[in-house]
């Protein structure tokens, strides 16, 4: 019984995280609609990659680091993989580490505006930063 349950719910991770992900907490949240979202990860490289890639915050899309200049190309590619009827409702999920500078996020948002992908969602973890 348990075995079957876990066999069914298991989803193998399709991306290997290259950046640190400690999302800030928030409580005024909405649920993410998975079928129409594409993910952007950002943050400092994880400790085991820091020897190679340094400690400067980077953007990750799919399985690799993407420079900001290449963001549009990568995102259009991801959008094309969604189901065609949902492509116009695409939502960008930003998973950004709490210690990143806002400047990087602003750069991403500027690129998104130029691509006309205007709906975005800042993924947060549960809780409230002020209550501790």
């Amino acid at each position: 019984m348990l075995l079957f349950f876990f066999m069914v719910v298991t989803v193998l991770r399709d991306t290997n995280l290259l950046v640190r992900q400690q999302m800030p907490k928030a409580d005024q949240v909405e649920k993410l609609k998975k079928d129409r979202s594409i993910f952007i990860f950002a943050g400092k490289p994880r400790s085991r990659y820091q020897d190679i890639y340094g400690t400067e915050a980077k953007i990750q899309i799919g399985d690799k680091y993407t420079p900001i200049s290449n963001l549009k190309f990568a995102l259009t590619g991801l959008r094309a993989k969604l189901r065609p009827e949902l492509q116009s409702f695409v939502m960008v999920a930003l998973k950004v580490d709490g210690d990143t500078n806002t400047g990087l996020v602003t750069d991403i948002k500027q690129e998104l505006r130029e691509l006309n992908m205007l709906k975005l969602i800042y993924i947060t973890s549960q809780g409230n930063e002020l209550e501790n």
Binding site: T10, E30, K95, N101, R113, L118
Partner: protein, 206 residues
């Protein structure tokens, strides 16, 4: 010819194998439930003449590179931001004779603060070096202020909480008339529109 008995498969280790599989799937399972603050970006377009917003209808939140808050040119603790935003949105400063009079506001009705929630705009200015954590805290508090007012108004008009109903409708847990509920949700959103503007961050902080 003697009938041979069918050879039996040794099934003694099946329980062990199933157990190992169970442990494998237990370990690899990650139940993902992503939640977050949804936001709409403004489209890029050349605005020929930008709408003029009166100073009193503008609530400026400035966050500097050291994550300090400057609200309406006064230093403020982030804990007080939510209440300050509620006070600003709920002020209803337009005089009773004008068409912009806000008949549901419960604020101080000070003429130097916002006319009504529809006119009120909250503008957030970040430095490039502001931490993302602080940015999310500020956004969260401001959305909380809007949600507080929307909850209050929907409770007064329809007897249910806006946030609760929106979640139910979005997740398909609402049993009543979904179309009617959606319309009511839109009414509330029109009554108290979320007007959060974000200026592009300055290169150097002050």
């Amino acid at each position: 010819m003697a009938r041979r008995s069918t050879p039996e498969v040794n099934a003694g280790s099946m329980a062990d194998i199933a157990f190992l599989l169970l442990i494998f799937f237990l370990v690899t399972t990650t139940i993902e439930k992503d939640k977050g603050i949804a936001r709409q970006l403004p489209p890029i377009e050349d605005i020929i003449d930008p709408p003029i917003i009166k100073q009193k209808n503008l609530f400026i939140v400035n966050v500097n590179r050291n994550d300090q808050l400057l609200v309406e040119e006064k230093l403020m603790d982030v804990k007080d931001l939510r209440q300050a935003a509620i006070n600003f949105l709920d002020n209803g400063g337009a005089p009773a004779s004008s068409p912009e009079y806000c008949n549901f506001c419960q604020g101080k009705r000070s003429p130097s603060s916002s006319d009504n929630p529809e006119k009120a705009v909250i503008s957030v200015q970040n430095d490039r070096l502001t931490s993302y954590r602080m940015y999310i805290i500020v956004q969260n508090e401001l959305v909380a202020a809007y949600n507080y007012l929307r909850d209050r108004e929907s409770e007064r008009l329809y007897g249910w909480k806006f946030t609760q109903m929106k979640r139910d409708v979005d997740e398909g847990n609402y049993n009543g008339n979904v179309e009617a509920a959606r319309e009511k949700l839109e009414n509330i959103q029109k009554l108290i529109p979320l007007k959060l503007s974000e200026a592009e961050p300055k290169k150097t902080g002050s």
